[in-house]
């Protein structure tokens, strides 16, 4: 799976557009085309540029959104700040899973969101 830092901006923007449209429907908002395009472009650019998300892949971003929409503490909004919150929260879960497996010695199969590679080196 390609890491976000290695993604092509155009391809990622398209993928993000799909994801944002899905999220908008899930939230129950009605986001217009221009806003969707703007958000996708900004967010895709952010994901590539931000070092803290560089080792994540798009599937993990998707998962972050899925969990964020369903279990997020705050009221969901279609803005970059909310997306960041969701991804950051998911990233923490992944880090925590890594910690549980490698430090606490738990069975990797039993730990959700575990990935062999540490996100922050």
């Amino acid at each position: 799976m390609i890491k976000l830092k290695n993604e092509n901006l155009q391809e990622l923007t398209e993928k993000i557009l799909d994801l944002l449209t899905l999220t908008s429907i899930e939230i129950g908002h009605r986001t217009d085309a221009k806003t969707l395009v703007s958000l996708s472009k900004i967010f895709a650019n952010d994901l590539i540029q931000e070092r803290r998300f560089g080792n994540l892949n798009f599937l993990q971003v998707k998962e972050a959104f899925r969990i964020g929409v369903r279990f997020g503490k705050d009221e969901p909004f279609m803005n970059i700040r909310t997306f960041y919150k969701w991804i950051y929260s998911h990233k923490k879960s992944i880090d925590s899973a890594y910690y549980e497996v490698h430090t606490l010695g738990k069975n990797p199969a039993e730990v959700p969101f575990y990935q062999s590679q540490k996100l922050l080196k």
Binding site: T31, A33, K34, V37
Partner: protein, 218 residues
């Protein structure tokens, strides 16, 4: 006993007068008129046309108490049918019948009543007949004004709606109604009324259409 069947044994009063003046006043008036005739036949009427009658006499003839008599006299005087004045010592109440006024009053009454009845009849009969004729006339005028047939039909259907009693149509109940102007306004409004109603899209549809637009924008 046979005198019981004579006309003097009965109180005769005019119904139409009684309706207007009240029964007691009418009875008093008819009694006064009969007294007037009596005085006239016996040449006892003075030059001004006054004759006297006493309360007791009137009470005996009409069974009206003095109080009822006073009320009745007041009514008759107000209507201008009689005039009264006290003459002599001791004073006696003298009466004068205003014949012309009585005749006028009766005539008016008759005319009013007859016209009222006739009007009623004519109105009913006319309305029953003429609501159709009026409607036809209205239709003719509407169709003669060179507007669209469907528009005219709708216009007629709307404005010829009858009221509850079925005597008048909607357009007749309007304060002002100029058919041509109303039709022009109707034609103007047609465009407004004919506007297609917004078909409601579901949220999902609108979001998907926005997605398609966004795809193009990308």
């Amino acid at each position: 006993m046979i005198h019981l069947l004579s006309s003097s044994a009965f109180i005769i009063c005019n119904k139409s007068l009684a309706k207007k003046l009240g029964l007691k006043s009418t009875i008093l008036l008819s009694d006064l008129i009969s007294k007037h005739e009596y005085f006239l036949n016996n040449n006892l009427i003075d030059g001004e046309g006054y004759f006297f009658n006493t309360q007791a006499n009137i009470e005996e003839d009409t069974t009206l108490t003095p109080y009822q008599q006073r009320n009745a006299i007041r009514t008759l005087k107000n209507e201008g049918l009689i005039e009264t004045k006290k003459i002599g010592i001791p004073a006696k109440l003298h009466y004068k019948i205003n014949e012309s006024q009585v005749i006028k009053f009766l005539d008016n009454k008759k005319k009013r009543k007859s016209t009222y009845i006739n009007k009623n009849k004519t109105i009913i009969s006319n309305n029953n007949k003429s609501i159709l004729t009026r409607k036809e006339k209205f239709e003719q005028i509407v169709f003669s004004l060179n507007f669209g047939t469907q528009l005219c039909k709708d216009f007629i259907l709307y404005w010829t709606e009858e009221n509850k009693s079925g005597k008048k149509m909607k357009f007749e109940l309007e304060k002002t109604f100029d058919i041509k102007r109303r039709l022009l306004r109707w034609e103007k409004n047609e465009a407004k009324w004919a506007k297609p109603k917004k078909t409601s899209f579901s949220k999902l549809d609108s979001q998907l259409s926005e997605y398609a637009k966004a795809k193009k924008l990308l």
